[in-house]
Amino acid sequence: MTIRQDETRALARESLTDEELLDLFRRMAFLREFEERTAEQYAKGRIWGFCHLYTGQEAVAVGAMSVLTDHDYVVTAYRDHGQAIAKGVDPKRVMAELFGRRTGTSLGRGGSMHLFDTGVHFMGGYAIVGGGLPIASGLALSVQYKDEDRVVASFFGEGAVAEGAFHESLNLAQLWKLPIIFIIENNLYGMGTAVERASATRDFYTRAEAYDMPGEPVDGMDVLAVRDAVGRARRRARAGKGPTLLEMKTYRFRPHSMSDPARYRTRAEVEIWRERDPLVTFPPRLVEEGIAREEEIAAIRAEVAKEVEACIAFAEESPHPEPDDLMRYLWAGDEPERPAERGERERSAETDEREPPPAVEPAATGDEGG
């Protein structure tokens, strides 16, 4: 694996203002704090079911979303808090969903694994491993069909690569040159199974070759490397050149889910990755390069802590769904009332047909949506 680290960093750095760089940190810090507090709320019995934290992988979601536009579709798996919030889903409503409240993104019906918000084109967390890839491919087909100015980013764990759905989706996407970016978050484990125990190969970006698709390994602990790779893949997709497979080399610091003792890995391994933790490595870089002062970093950390606190308060105060709701909204035509605060962002993918800007020739160079 050769990751052109310095090169990509330099590239990405050029196109970003100091504010933008700081914002990347803020977003990662927010996700970290959100997940830490989620763990605490789970322990308190306010969140139930399966709950998979994103801790450690923040650079992937934040880096990727920083070069996707509001209109781009995102699809992911059950480990979905990070992508949802990074995509712009209101974190209050995410926390409310984890609490199972009526104000949650999915009215409290989805829970941690099934966040969704058409308002920001976050098209779902799916709990069937591999299940999101065909759907993401279909969204990309709709984009191509309507000649819209957007792309699809499909996130999934390296464990999903073994599923037939991965294979069928990549073949179709390449055959039809769909505007989609397949993003493997290779955190080295699928539950307790280390990659080498479940896959004939240890790298996954190489799988792209089987479909004559470009594939690339990316340092998933480096938000700028992620940003760069996703930005380039997005441009390819928008230019009609079809899909790209990106393998983000990353790590989850927490167990698979809240009920996993994580005995399958060594403390030493965790420690090695701790040194690459984006929340550890990125702030010093900002300081060294004169982009922010230590105090600003500390201030941001304090701010996000307050914001997450507000999310918990919001969730706690929110009403439960009424038992009478049980049979509602199964069929189209029976439409839920939208919470007022969501306002304009509420339009569904289908009703916002006028929304996506008409397709334009993509710029030959330069990041989009940065």
């Binding site: 949650g104 019906r109 969704f116 087909l141 309507k146 993918a349």
Partner: protein, 324 residues
């Protein structure tokens, strides 16, 4: 009204709906260049081009899954399964995704998807090509299921299926493709959930759907010669299910036979028997009878296959036992 085949009626519905609504498109194995393994998509590629008529790889899971995604993206995909037997490879996308997405995401999105194709036995295609899949679909909340028995219904129900905002599983019968019948031209869309009484009578009710409707009618004619008058009800859609019409008839005849081609255990016949006795117990003069396909994988040999599928004579006998 023109006399056309079931196949042509389906083809007409596709032509008209694609003409009417630019969001409608067709995808599946062999649907474009080959014009469908059963020629249901004939002429579509020529008329609408590759953008709207798409040949796919042999990969049912992504065919259905991509159709689900496209529907979420605002299109109205019609995904053809070459036969419904192969849709079993896509059950994850149908059951775990298409059926659940709207509800589980709090009603934020619609999945206006049609999955269509033939099912059923009778052409000596053997165990892996002769199944009836309706039980697997009706069991799962969130899917509508249509089972047209005539060319007119094939057209009218397919048009409604395409216009419907929910996922519709559209089960054609392979044996019916060449069946002819009068079909209204133009905008003939039939409401879902309205069964039809096809043969009136006071002695017993046969409740059925798809290919078995024709067999039930022939049995009814045969029984009429013996002075036994049966009412034949064609359900047309299984979800939604028109219990009103079924119960109305049973309250009149006091005897019901539910007839289906597929396997008995947890079949539609069981569901209907359970519901009829539940809701019209005191009106029944005899237990609700079921006549179904035999509970074995479909054999290839012609005689065995005929034995495995309800035939006219056996339907008539079942009614005789019921009224006897």
């Amino acid at each position: 009204m023109a006399e056309i085949t079931y196949r042509e009626a389906l083809n007409q519905a596709l032509h008209e709906e694609m003409e009417r609504d630019e969001r409608v498109f067709v995808m599946g194995e062999e649907v474009a260049l080959y014009e469908g393994a059963y020629k249901v998509t004939k002429g579509l590629l020529g008329r609408f081009g590759e953008r709207r008529v798409k040949d796919t790889p042999i990969a049912e899971e992504v065919i259905v899954g991509a159709a689900v995604g496209a529907a979420m993206g605002g299109l109205r995909p019609v995904a053809e399964m070459m036969t419904w037997n192969f849709a079993i490879l896509a059950f994850d996308q149908i059951i775990n995704h298409a059926a659940k997405i709207r509800y589980m995401f709090g009603g934020q999105v619609k999945v206006p998807l049609v999955v269509r194709g033939p099912q059923g036995g009778g052409k000596q295609l053997g165990a892996q090509h002769s199944q009836s899949v309706e039980t697997w679909l009706v069991h799962c909340p969130g899917l509508k299921v249509a089972v047209p028995a005539t060319p007119a219904d094939a057209k009218g129900l397919l048009k409604t299926a395409i216009r419907d905002d929910d996922p519709v599983m559209f089960l054609e019968h392979e044996i019916l493709y060449n069946a002819k019948g009068a079909v209204p031209e133009g905008d003939h869309a039939l409401p879902f959930g309205e069964a039809r009484v096809l043969h009136e009578g006071g002695d017993a009710t046969i409740v059925t759907y798809s290919l078995m409707v024709a067999k039930a009618l022939r049995a009814a004619e045969e029984l009429a010669h013996d002075g036994i008058w049966v009412e034949v009800i064609d359900l047309r859609t299984l979800v939604p299910l028109d219990m009103h019409t079924v119960l109305g008839s049973v309250r009149k005849t006091h005897r019901a036979l539910v007839l289906q081609e597929g396997w008995p255990v947890c079949g539609m016949a069981s569901e209907l028997a359970a519901r009829i006795q539940e809701e019209a117990f005191d009106d029944l003069d005899a237990p609700v009878a079921r006549l179904t396909g035999a509970p074995v994988p479909m054999p290839y040999n012609k005689r065995l296959e005929a034995e495995a599928i309800p035939q006219v004579e056996r339907i008539a006998d079942a009614v005789r036992r019921l009224v006897g």
